[in-house]
């Protein structure tokens, strides 16, 4: 399915839960509320007309200054139909807040590591995560969440402007 018909299908089928549908560089993109995050992922995976069974990318962006929170972006795709969609949600957070969202590792098992990574680097709490340990950082890391913008640590040197 091409992106525009995919977008049309999404905004008709799930109109009560998704909003702000648009096409960003030929990927159909929709936004959802954090409360609907897990449920929409469940419905999308189980939708027989979409067959979105693999994760292509799953990451977080620190948009605290611009949008007032962290945005998590999930791109899922289908091998059979050769299409992909991006789902976004904005988790509101101020200064040092750790926003909370439900885990989707029960929907797509490969989300588990992506979520662990976001949890340690951005400080987003994934509620109900089966294994909330550190993934990339050391177990005794205690310098906060390094991927947040404006973070600084004791061994962290910012590249000087030339």
């Amino acid at each position: 399915m091409d992106s525009s018909s995919l977008l049309k299908l999404l905004s008709e089928e799930y109109q009560e839960r998704v909003f702000d549908g648009k096409i960003i560089t030929d990927v159909a993109t929709v936004s959802v509320n954090p409360g609907n995050w897990v449920s929409i992922c469940h419905s999308l995976r189980d939708d027989k007309s979409l067959l979105l069974h693999s994760i292509s990318n799953f990451g977080a962006i620190d948009f605290r200054e611009k949008l007032g929170g962290y945005q998590i972006v999930l791109t899922v795709f289908s091998h059979q139909f050769n299409h992909k969609i991006t789902i976004k949600t904005l988790l509101p957070a101020k200064e040092d807040d750790s926003p909370i969202v439900g885990t989707i590792s029960g929907v797509w098992p490969s989300a588990e590591w992506f979520e662990r990574e976001m949890a340690e680097l951005f400080g987003i709490i994934f509620e109900g995560h089966p294994d909330p340990r550190h993934l990339l950082l050391d177990d005794d890391w205690d310098e906060g969440y390094p991927m947040r913008r404006g973070w600084s640590g004791k061994d962290f040197v910012v590249k000087p402007e030339i």
Binding site: D138, W151, G153, D155, F156, V158
Partner: protein
């Protein structure tokens, strides 16, 4: 190293013992320099160049009497090939401690020397392997060519050949 390190002390007491010490020294240094067994331990990009490509068909470490050992207990030389992160640093220190004396370290590539391309804006990389273990030879490059790795090994052999018998006594006591 017990006996070897005490050898010069006993030898010096015998008239003409100095000659024996020098010969023993030469013998030990020669055998150490020509059978540098390196630990099969790669961290990042440099491992492909420094351990695999240099060990493979075209460059061939065997010419220098170097063969890889998978265990640190059997190795004399640790080639720190790649970026050393804070998480890995603890493990590298343990590996270094497990190696038996005399042991040598080659810091290969920019990352192992001082952090290299990962010096700025990086929260997880240790800026230089010499912050945790002593280094004998530094090789610049990102990654260094196999030729420069071999040059470093030759330099290390030269260094070993200049060692004195008593050199290790302080570190082992």
């Amino acid at each position: 190293m017990g006996v070897v390190s005490k050898l010069p002390v006993y030898m010096e007491r015998i008239p003409g013992g100095g000659i024996l010490t020098t010969s023993a020294e030469k013998f030990f240094n020669w055998s150490r320099a020509s059978s540098l067994w390196y630990m099969l331990f790669g961290l990042a990009c440099c491992a492909i160049e420094g351990l695999m490509a240099t060990g493979a068909s075209r460059y061939d470490y065997d010419r220098l009497g170097m063969i890889f050992r998978a265990s640190p207990r059997q190795a004399d030389l640790m080639i720190v090939a790649g970026t050393l992160t804070h998480k890995m640093a603890k493990r590298v220190k343990i590996l270094y401690d497990q190696m038996s004396e005399p042991k040598y370290v080659i810091a290969m590539g920019g990352c192992a020397n001082n952090g290299g391309p990962f010096y700025y804006d990086c929260y997880s990389v240790l800026k230089g392997v010499d912050k945790i273990i002593p280094v004998d030879i530094y090789i610049p490059g990102c990654p260094p060519r196999p030729e420069s790795v071999m040059e470093a090994c030759l330099k290390l052999q030269e260094k070993i050949k200049k060692q004195k018998l008593g050199d290790w006594s302080s570190s082992t006591s």
